[in-house]
Every structure is written in C-alpha cells, then in structure tokens.
C-alpha cells in the first residue's frame, strides 16, 4: 500500500462516549457526569455532523465506587455472553451488558453505533493509551495520531490486543469501531485533576476529529508505533495460599513502555531477592502493577512494538456510499 493512497471510509454519524464501565475509575465517571449535564441542554439542537451518546456504563458499581458488583462488565461483551440464555439470576453485569448491547449495538450489526470510546483509568504509569483489537482500523489509528498532534505534552501509546472479533469481550467491541481510552496513573476511587483534564481533552479532540472527518477533511497517512500484546506475567505466589510472595521490583515500578531486556529485574521478594525476566526477547512492559489485575493473575503485560503504516483517509461521498451499499448489503453479518 502506498502512503499516497487515499482510502474512503463510511461516515461516522453516531458516536458513544462511555464512562464508569469500572465504577471506581473516576475520571470517566466524572467526565460522563459533566457531559450528561451539557447534553441535557443541547438536546434540542441537532448535532451535526455527529450525534454523540454519553453513557454511564455501570451505574450500580459507580454508586458503590467499586470496579464491579458481581463480575467485570468489561469482559461481558463476547457474542456468546450477549446472545446466551437469559436467567433471572444472571449477574448484574451480564444483564447490563445486554442492555448496553441493545443501546449501542447489537454488536456486529448495521444498527451498531459507528464509534465507541470507552473511558478507563489505571494505577499503572501508562500516560494515555488507546487499546483496541485491531492494528488496521484506520479510524482509530487516525484519531490516535490526531490526539498525539493536538496534545503533545502527554505520552501516548497505541496498544493492540490480537483478539478475533468472535472472541472480543470489551464494551468498545460493540460499535463498528471502538477503542478504550486508558489513562494513568490514578488510584482507583480518586480523581486527579491532571488525569481528568487529559481525558476531557482526549474526548474533545476525538469528537472534533469525527466532525472534521464527517465534513470531508482529508487526513494524511503516515506511521504509528503500535504495541501488540504478547503475554502477561503473574506475580510469584505461595503454592498453598496463592498470596503473592514478591512485589514489582523498584527498578521496574512506573517504567511502563521502557524496554525490558532479558535478565532485567522484575520482582523483589519480601526477603529482598531479585527475580529477573527470563524471556529471550526484549519486550515493552505495560499495565505494571495495575490493582485490578492482581485477581486476574497479571503483574505486568508485555508487548512487541512495530511501526504500522496508515493510509490517508477521507469520508465516502454520497455517490461512493451508494455504490458500496450494493456491495455491503450482501455481506451482512449477524
């Protein structure tokens, strides 16, 4: 593919901004609350060229200021869970995931919103990250590049989880395009003004980009560094109690995205011993010491970095859309 090649993509008329998917990740909770106040006022004005839905994903967990009530909402969006048998005794978050799928999806259908931006915080020192399932969703990659340009003082990375659409499990997978906007470090249950401001700016610039895109602007292609998740590493644990027996090593703590080489320190046991990285390949660590991942058996995640070339893009014209519509309607997925 040539850098000069111009790709035409369908309009993005409907965007959803979701916060409080984890009820104790407060930047998103407060930002959604603020955006909902403004949304109430703007409801009479038709929002051209994009309509924005603001959603508080997990109201009960938000009210309790917990990550979740019964189960992690952001793992409840697989096709299997969304379309599985319904029961009165289903966990709260499974019921909620189906409600959100009805509101923003159905996942995989033509009625799904065009773009989902799901707001998250992490206790890890990750700056701002986009997390997606695809390394070739040009919409998400261009939005990322736009934010890098517009907010140059915040470190920004693009993370890709190589998970098929069939297995994708998070809220952002419900829209035709979607990504999680993950910002840290922020303790759960706390809102830090610098982190909130970064998230607010990120959402604003994202919406500005969508408006520009829908209005016909051309976005020049180029290169984006993409971090693709390779594996997770768990804490060393006691074989009987399963309690952790070491903490992230002080040399690794807060060094998200600093290349980890074979033999670099990983953990420090409570008796002071250093445990080292035994992998053969240098990889980029992230989600280092994320609170919510202790129970998922993840002390840190590791990624490979590669440069992805993205094409120039602009929105399809109406004629181009008509021509393509013939083609798409015969390719409907369920």
């Amino acid at each position: 593919m040539e850098v000069d090649e111009l790709m035409c993509l369908p309009r993005l008329p409907r965007v959803a901004v979701c916060g409080g998917t984890h009820g104790n990740e407060l930047s998103g909770v407060y930002l959604v609350r603020e955006l909902l106040k403004v949304e109430k006022k703007a409801v009479e004005e038709e929002e051209e060229p994009v309509s924005v839905m603001i959603v508080l994903s997990n109201p009960r967990a938000t009210q309790q200021c917990h990550r979740y009530v019964d189960t992690d909402l952001n793992r409840c969006f697989t096709h299997a869970t969304l379309n599985g048998p319904i029961s009165d005794t289903d966990p709260y978050e499974i019921i909620r995931s189906r409600e959100l799928n009805a509101l923003l999806g159905p996942k995989g259908s033509r009625q799904a919103v065009d773009l989902v931006c799901d707001l998250h915080n992490t206790t890890a020192n990750m700056g701002m990250c986009f997390i997606t399932y695809s390394d070739c969703d040009w919409i998400c990659l261009h939005i990322f590049r736009h934010l890098q340009k517009e907010i140059p003082d915040i470190p920004m990375r693009f993370i890709h989880f190589d998970v098929s659409n069939k297995e994708s499990y998070s809220l952002d997978s419900v829209g035709k395009h979607g990504f999680a906007m993950e910002i840290g470090p922020q303790p759960h249950g706390v809102v830090r003004s610098n982190i909130y401001t970064a998230m607010k700016g990120g959402v604003q610039h994202m919406l500005d980009w969508v408006r520009l895109f829908n209005s016909g602007a051309i976005f020049r292609g180029g290169f984006v560094d993409v971090f693709t998740m390779v594996k997770h590493i768990d804490y060393p644990r006691d074989s009987v109690t399963h309690n952790i027996t070491a903490a992230i090593h002080p040399h690794l703590q807060d060094r998200d995205f600093c290349l980890l080489h074979p033999d670099d320190p990983l953990f420090q046991t409570f008796s002071g011993e250093t445990l080292r990285y035994k992998g053969k390949e240098p990889l980029y660590p992230f989600f280092i010491n994320e609170c919510a991942y202790y129970e998922k058996g993840i002390a840190l995640s590791l990624a490979r970095k590669r440069r992805v070339m993205i094409p120039s893009i602009r929105v399809e014209t109406e004629q181009e859309q008509q021509a393509n519509h013939q083609q798409y309607s015969s390719e409907d997925e369920n």
Partner: protein, 313 residues
C-alpha cells in the same frame, strides 16, 4: 536540654501488637503482618512480646476497606459496651473482640503499644500519627525514629482535635501509634512503600527494646503537625462533588497553603482559592477513602512539643 530532675519513670513496654489490614485494601500492612505471622524473626526483640495481627480478615479477603463499617472508627465507647450479637455490624463485632484481646481500652491489662499499619493515596510519605500530645513514651519513640531514618523524612501528625479525633483500632492500647505511608493506590503493593514501612517498624522496635533494657532518653523537642480543620470538596445541592483538588495542591502534602492559593479546580477549569486566615499545612490530600467522609484534605498547624526525659520505672 536534658533535665535529670524531671526524668519521667514509665512502666516497661513489654506487650506490643502490630496491626495490619485494619483497612483490608491497604496492602503494606497486610503483607508485613502476614509475613511476620509466618516468620516473626524480624520483629523479635529482647524483653518485647511483639504480636502481629490482622484486624479485619474479612475485608482483607475481599481486598476492600471494610465490609459493613470502617473498623478504624468503630472503637467508640457505645460500640465497645454494646451487647454482643450477630446482628451487630461485622466491624463492631471485631472491635469488641479486639478490645477483649488487646484491651480493654483504658484498663491496666491493655497492651502497652499498638502499631497500626496504614497506606494512603495521598503523597504523605512516612507519617506517624499521635493521638495525645502528653504521651511522653510515644513522643520519645517518634523522636528516635525520626533521627534514625534521617535524612529520610518521617513527619508526625497529631490528631488531638476534640471533634475530628476518632476511635481507632490502636486506641485500645496505652500507647497507640498510627503508621501511614503513601502514596499507594488501594489494593496495590509498591515495594518502596512496603520497605519504608518495614524500616520504621524496625526502628520502633529497637527503641522499645532499648527502653525496656533501662536506657534513659533525654528530654527532646518534637515537631508535630496538629490537625486543625477538615476541608470538604465543593458540592452541588445534591451532594455531588463539583471540583477536584487543584493541580497546584495535588501531591503537596505538608507544604504551606497560604490564603489565596489555588485549592480546587472545577470540572470546567475554574480555580477555587483557599480562604483561610493564615498559612496551614494540608495533608491527606485526595485520599480515596475520604471522599465518602466529606474530606478533600485536612489542614494542620506546625507546633513544637517538648518531651521530658524518660526511663523505665
């Protein structure tokens, strides 16, 4: 400075407890106490019975601050004297059990010293919490610890305020000592924070051993930060927070806050300034657990306390 006429003779401090998990998601204390329950070599000292103890096991298991109610507010006279029963909130039952084992509070049978291990999301560094300005033993111990870890810093927070003081787990002992180390997110174990707490406890136990062996500690002065006022977040008519700790104040625990300085920032970017009458020293700035207690930070005033010399009786 030493005044040999005024050496206070105090009973030896033989029974010492180390509490972890009073808040189940404050991980340094949980980890240290679990470690020492498995192997207590590190906390052994001649003439000292040091007992590590998990105060809120259910909260620790769920990695949550508390199950029904905050254990570290539960040691009120009403709770401790209430008729025992399963209908009582879990933490009130726990408070009664702890009071029985380590108290009773206010009685001669109570433990001599209790160290209660806590973490905070605030950038407080190492902080020792004192409940009485007249506790000579604690003042001398805190002075010893501060000197031992210098040039690293360990500040003393004095909470003797009649309205803001609260009934802590450690208050069951004759000499209650709070250890607060931050910043650390709830549910997270940071190795630097863990090691810092461990070092403070090492010096504290060293002091008790020396004291019990008969060492005299000369008169000293101790700088403390005395709790003055609790400042809440600005809220709307429905009680929702409408502003955040200002970026200029965030992480500036123990630094002077002057009238007119930025204090809060509304969600749409406006600054709210501190309107007090004089300079204060804020702490517990943006502690996660205090949103529900209507506290964005507390103000303190700097004070120098004098502790007379002490020696075992």
């Amino acid at each position: 400075m030493s005044s040999y006429n005024n050496t206070a003779r105090l009973t030896e401090a033989r029974r010492v407890a180390i509490f972890g998990g009073t808040h189940g998601n404050e991980m340094s204390g949980v980890t240290l106490v679990n470690l020492w329950m498995k192997n207590s070599d590190e906390i052994q000292r001649k003439g000292v019975e040091a007992k590590p103890f998990i105060t809120n096991p259910k909260a620790v298991e769920k990695c949550t601050r508390y199950v029904d109610t905050d254990l570290n507010r539960a040691f009120t006279p009403e709770n401790l004297s209430a008729p025992a029963g399963d209908e009582l909130p879990y933490e009130v039952q726990r408070a009664q059990e702890i009071n029985k084992e380590f108290g009773p509070k206010g009685s001669p049978e109570a433990y001599d010293v209790i160290f209660d291990l806590h973490n905070t999301t605030s950038n407080m560094g190492c902080t020792l919490i004192l409940e009485s300005s007249k506790d000579l033993f604690n003042l001398q111990m805190m002075n010893y610890i501060k000197k031992a870890i210098a040039p690293a810093s360990c500040l003393v927070l004095l909470n003797e305020h009649p309205l803001l003081k609260y009934s802590t787990s450690r208050s069951v002992a004759k000499h209650p000592v709070g250890l607060e180390v931050g910043p650390q997110p709830q549910g997270v174990l940071r190795s630097n924070i863990f090691e810092a707490m461990r070092v403070i406890l090492k010096h504290a136990l060293d002091f008790i051993e020396l004291f019990n062996e008969g060492m005299e500690f000369p008169s000293c002065t101790v700088e403390v930060f005395r709790v003055s006022e609790r400042i809440d977040y600005p809220r709307d008519a429905n009680g929702n927070i409408i502003a955040m700790v200002h970026p200029n104040l965030q992480d500036c625990d123990w630094e002077p806050l002057n009238p007119g300085d930025p204090m809060f920032q509304t969600f749409d970017g406006k600054t709210i300034h501190y309107q007090g009458s004089g300079t204060v020293y804020p702490t517990f700035i943006n502690e996660a657990a205090y949103y529900e207690k209507q506290q964005a930070f507390v103000t303190t005033r700097r004070e120098t306390l004098v502790a007379s010399a002490i020696r075992k009786a």
